[in-house]
């Protein structure tokens, strides 16, 4: 199992899923460092899917949408999915505005995300 943790990002691989906990304020400054760390662990762990957990999120702006789209491009090349969990109503409306739900899915929690990766 692969694992990474700092004060703003916690990640673990479970089976073929990389679970990414975003903590704090997801802005351009945050994305600059998070992008490389996520990609590195995704490659190392040989995970297929990515699940973003937003339960620890305090703030996000459009930089986060770029980060998520970029990870989707990476995962979808391998046939993987990107699933968003613990999405607040505000976050949901921003993601809808961005058209994110045309290409990726949202689930209430990790168990539901896991079911989506299995096509259930």
């Amino acid at each position: 199992m692969s694992f990474y943790a700092d004060h703003s990002l916690r990640m673990e691989s479970r089976d073929n899923i990389l679970l990414i906990h975003v903590i704090g304020e997801l802005d351009h400054h945050y994305c600059q460092s998070a992008r490389g760390r996520i990609d590195e662990l995704y490659d190392q762990s040989h995970a297929l899917h990515m699940v973003f957990d937003f339960s620890g999120l305090n703030f996000m702006d459009s930089s986060a949408i770029g980060l998520i789209m970029g990870r989707w491009q990476k995962a979808s090349l391998l046939g993987g999915k990107v699933i968003l969990i613990h999405v607040s109503p505000r976050l949901h409306s921003i993601f809808s505005m961005a058209g994110l739900y045309r290409i990726l899915e949202e689930a209430p929690d990790f168990e539901a995300a896991l079911a989506l990766t299995k096509g259930e």
């Binding site: 802005d27 703030f59 459009s62 949408i65």
Partner: protein, 149 residues
Amino acid sequence: MDPFFHLEFDSASENEAFARAVVCAFAARLDPTLQELEDIRTAISEAVTNAIIHGYDQQPGTIWMRGCLHDRLLTVSIEDHGVGMEDVPKAMEALYTSRPDLERSGLGFTLMQSFMDSVEVTSVPGGGTIVTMRKRILPPSQDLTDGER
């Protein structure tokens, strides 16, 4: 005299969080709702990020931020002396970005326009850009059961 502030800071990405915290603290005297504060926070973050990434192309530069309150109308302007824009309407189009290489979503102006009452952009190629945003903060509700406050 109407309340105001003038602030000058360097174009480091750490200052995105600093700038949005300043404006929220400034607006706090109007007792805004959490929703209004989140709207302001996001809009300021977008404008300052644009100045850092596009205005100064992530090179060192100075950003000027000014704010004032007139009754319940908040006005904030964010100014850079960076590269400026040739075509402002194009830059403001949803999903347009000049920097797909940086994984920019092209939604910065769209979010500013969604969350503020007005957004004006003045830009001079080679001279810089000023983004001025306004938002009217609604008077506090008398209803103390309003859980958002």
